[in-house]
């Protein structure tokens, strides 16, 4: 039950062993990371509504990806798998009471808005979007991001979020309505398909 600590020699050995332990070599990882880290981080920041949590979850996402034993057919498959890990981690993060103990959701959202204002070329519209996104259910944020930003198919989204493909269209429509209502300052009503 004791604490495990690593000596400097252990750390050197860890780097030596890494390529056997991980599913890709360091060079391939660097290239893959450069392509995917920012999109994954932005996705996590929108999903959690908190940049600090996005930072933590980014490290965890890549760690789990490196440890996975999945055989990837191509880069696209690899990328989707990475986003699937990020989606699952964000979901687990919401369910973990320890993650909400330190920073309230309001404080996190306010911080995200403040940073958005500093970084943005059109701050007002982006703050509105941040607020509207934060008012959505986490699953709705994931739905909109995966469908409209990542361009996943309904079947892929359904598999990743544990939903039925048949219900995806309706759920996506509802999420879109809620987002637009949030942006326009009106409350969406419950809908039915025509």
């Amino acid at each position: 039950m004791g604490e495990f600590t690593l000596t400097d020699m252990d750390r050197l050995l860890a780097l030596h062993d890494a390529e056997r332990t991980f599913q890709m070599d360091e060079e391939t990882f660097r290239s893959f990371y450069e392509q995917t880290a920012r999109p994954v981080w932005a996705y996590l920041a929108r999903l959690t509504g908190d940049r600090r949590h996005a930072d933590d979850l980014l490290q965890e996402t890549f760690y789990r990806f490196l440890r996975s034993r999945t055989h990837f057919e191509n880069d696209d498959h690899r990328r989707r798998y990475l986003f699937r890990i990020a989606t699952n981690l964000a979901r687990d993060h919401r369910r973990d009471p320890r993650t909400t103990r330190h920073v309230s959701a309001e404080a996190s959202a306010a911080e995200l808005e403040s940073l958005t204002e500093r970084e943005s070329t059109a701050p007002e519209s982006r703050i509105d979007l941040t607020r509207a996104m934060n008012r959505l259910k986490p699953r709705e944020r994931a739905l909109l991001s995966l469908a409209y930003v990542q361009g996943w198919s309904h079947a892929e989204i359904a598999a990743s979020l544990g939903l039925r493909t048949a219900s995806l269209k309706a759920l996506l429509w509802r999420a879109r309505q809620r987002l637009l209502a949030g942006l326009r300052g009106t409350a969406p009503q419950s809908g039915r398909e025509r």
């Binding site: 690593l6 252990d10 860890a14 890494a18 360091e26 920012r38 981080w41 760690y63 409209y148 930003v149």
Partner: protein
Amino acid sequence: MTRRSCPRESDVLDAVLRDDAFGGGITDTVASGDSGVTEGTMRGDLQRHVADCATCREVAEVITMLRRDRAQMEEHASVPAAGQIWWRSAVRARMEAAQAAARPVSWAQGVTAATLFGVVCAALVLTWPSLRRLVGLAGGRLLDGLDSNVMQLLPPMVAAVERSLPLALGVMAVVVIAPLAVLYFALAGED
């Protein structure tokens, strides 16, 4: 509110995701309400449709807004260097491997403790008749000095204690040792 759907929603999505297939045309169309015909039959056709179809206009609006927002977030994201992530992951993997290697040792310690406890209990049960005689002899000498009324009450009490002692030991094992063992393994798993 009634849900509207359009069979061309996926065309709109594909067009935006095809990375500027419209050269910003969808956004312009959404903003101005103009049909905005451009060169290329498909592009012009889809743009005309977006201008006329409220559902597709809404889809285009949301996609454009979300993608712009995401592009700005990505631009300003400060992510750790790839080498840092690699190094941290390597160290963590090593640490987890060390913990995994130590886990059987913890289990072996637990099993040894449980076995030892069982052996002690078995030894107590087997040697109980001899122990009872010894206790009886020692007790008899003590009781010689006590009042005769007390002496009458003692034999049934001693007999009751003698009968229930193995049972009491068993209960103690379940009530005290089992939760301790569970706690031990739970804490061992948290490392």
